[in-house]
């Protein structure tokens, strides 16, 4: 085990977070299949669902129409994001009582680096966190404790909901040998298929392969496969959540086809982005603009372009910036549509950002 990674990592994942919050407030629905998401008539998708709905095959990111087909009695509730954000904040507040190093992954999930390397003490901490969240927020979390992020996440998924599992150093070999390769994050359908063709189905199969072999077939990804199948993960828990992008998007109840509709949608997205950008606490610098398009056949494409000049968060766009962003967005959109011109289901607009350093100097522009 690497000497500089003595601390243990705890992964906490709230169980069907949005649904759990809704059920907490509507106990009468407790024994019914419940999901949170958009309405089928508005082409909504399922954000999350409770375990009863999951038995019918309902999954998050599935279209609501599809989910209702699978589970005709499904109760679909409209999401209340501000409430979820608030609960998430309270949950992170509880985490911060136990760890100084927290890396949130989404509203409902976080890695915690614990200060101790004693398995028993850390297990007690994990159980404390679970108890405290359940008693003060009335939702449950699953927790996994292990040596690194990868194993901790694996452990937290072990027996959801409200589960707790420890993967100790001495358990790693046993756990990994039985694991399907698909359980390694970043091994998706295509990699899995490619691995299967090479006769690799479990992590044990993967362990038989040399690093050279894996690099040859999977490029830089090969090193990751080589490490993960042995339960290795050198990523550290990063204390601050560094935002990489900020974006707004809209799904349209009717596909966009006409230029003027698209143009109007783009203009309104620039306005929405401006509002989000204003609310973002100061200190971010936008470095490029991207446009995201989902066509009516659900295929997705993005176009990104760096721009000259600097846009600071916490301020409204200047009229020139507004113009520049709108025209850049149009150029990007046109470029995407020149490759595939089909009706548009969803349009998104956002910035890739970096954290603006106070001491950082910013280039000024001749023509602005």
């Amino acid at each position: 085990m690497s000497f500089n990674n003595q601390r243990l990592v705890l992964h906490c994942d709230a169980d069907s977070f949005f649904a759990a919050i809704e059920l907490r407030d509507r106990p009468q629905l407790k024994n019914l299949p419940v999901a949170v998401g958009g309405r089928a008539t508005d082409r909504g998708v399922i954000a999350t669902c409770n375990y009863i709905a999951r038995k019918f095959g309902v999954r998050s990111a599935m279209s609501t129409a599809m989910a209702e087909k699978l589970c005709p009695n499904l109760i679909v509730l409209a999401p209340r994001f501000s409430l979820y954000r608030q609960v998430s904040e309270e949950m992170h507040g509880i985490f911060s009582n136990y760890s100084r190093c927290i890396e949130p992954i989404a509203l409902d999930e976080a890695y915690l680096e614990l200060d101790s390397d004693d398995w028993n003490i850390c297990a007690e901490i994990a159980k404390d966190i679970q108890r405290q969240i359940e008693s003060s927020l009335a939702i449950t979390v699953s927790a996994g404790l292990s040596r690194n992020k990868f194993l901790a996440k694996l452990a937290s998924e072990w027996n959801k909901p409200a589960g707790f599992k420890i993967i100790r150093d001495e358990d790693v070999a046993q756990v990994m040998s039985q694991l399907a390769v698909g359980k390694i994050p970043s091994v998706g359908g295509k990699t899995k298929e490619k691995l299967a063709k090479l006769g690799i189905v479990t992590c044990r199969d993967l362990q038989q392969q040399s690093l050279d072999f894996l690099t040859q077939h999977f490029g830089v990804h090969g090193q990751l496969l080589f490490d993960r199948c042995r339960g290795r993960d050198l990523r550290t828990v990063k204390n601050t959540w560094i935002r990489k992008s900020i974006s707004v998007e809209r799904t349209f109840s009717n596909d966009l086809v006409r230029d003027d509709e698209i143009s109007a949608a783009l203009n309104s997205l620039v306005g929405l982005l401006d509002e989000r950008w204003l609310r973002l606490k100061s200190g971010y610098l936008a470095k490029s603009l991207f446009v995201k398009i989902k066509y009516s056949d659900f295929s997705l494409t993005t176009r990104e372009s760096a721009f000259s000049g600097y846009i600071h968060s916490g301020e409204h766009f200047s009229p020139q910036q507004q113009l520049q962003l709108t025209s850049t967005a149009k150029t990007l959109l046109t470029s995407a549509l020149s490759v595939k011109n089909a009706s548009i289901r969803l349009l998104g607009l956002g910035f890739s950002v970096h954290q603006g350093d106070q001491k950082q100097m910013n280039q000024t522009d001749l023509f602005m």
Partner: protein, 369 residues
Amino acid sequence: MKFKVFREQLLKPLQLVAGVIEKRQTMPILANVYMSLHKDGTLSLTGTDMEVEMVVRVVLDNDFTPGEITVPAKKLTDICRSLPDESEITLELKDERVLVKSGRSRFQLSALPASDFPASDSRQNEISFQCTKHTIKRLIEKTGFAMAQQDVRYYLNGMLWEISANRFRVVATDGHRLALSENTELQTGINDVYSCIVPRKGISELARLLDDNEDNVDIGIGPSHIQVSSEFFTFTSKLVDGKFPEYERVLPRGGDKIVFGPRAELREAFSRAAILSNVKYRGVRLLLNDSLLTITANNPEQEEANEEVVVDYHGEELEIGFNVSYLQDVTNVLESETIKFTLSNSNASALIEEPEGGDSMYVVMPMRM
């Protein structure tokens, strides 16, 4: 078609033509060089990416059979380059393949019919004039570095050419800095002011074609193209269809802080300070005091560089930030021993030029500190 040439006769023209050809093409034939051998012994080599077209001509004196064909440009260039100096090369079209022979080496290249090669449509010039190769080469060298690269303001990804009766001026800018250079010693015979934007790629290919020779070339410009030609080459490029910013509005006026400094010393100090500037933003601080310029650079690793250069300056203290690369570019391309900075405040652009003005001027926008 069949001919015999020395390696040196063919290699340079091939390299010039191959430079235009893109690594990835939309049509296979665009990877090929079009070779056409005329009855009078002129061998023309043509390469195009549909934006920029380059024709280079070589005159053959040996026995030859006229004809035309296209062959993969990169492969033919690589073959010629790899043959020993002064080898004699025979090229022959045989059964839709091109046979290249030299000494004991033989190559068979696949060919595509000449009739499939995209012909350049003849276009009408609106203006035409002559100037020396050296004139154009110098104008490009003095300003080319300031062109934008893949900017969304596509009209900045090129160079403005502005021609009037006795002035040939070029301007390049990426929005952060601007370079302007002009030649006022020629007679173009053009009454009005005519301007166009030559795309970045056209400029770089044209620069490869030119040398310091005082021979004249013909320049013709139409609504959507520019052509530069001599006995030995014809260069054609599409123009950027857009409006170049009104650059004259951003040329600084009324700067009251004038600094004269030693060019070579400044250039070296900038390049040393650059080592510890932020790799991405390249910011350096210039602190101007009586007779002394201090250049400071910091990076996120908290390392710091300090350079002092004695300059001729008498006035109030000024601190101003710049992208050091822009300053390096300018100090590299100016030629005088001393250079002149005209500044006004830390938010206003700087004008850098030769003490007597010279034929070029450079405007650099500061970085906000």
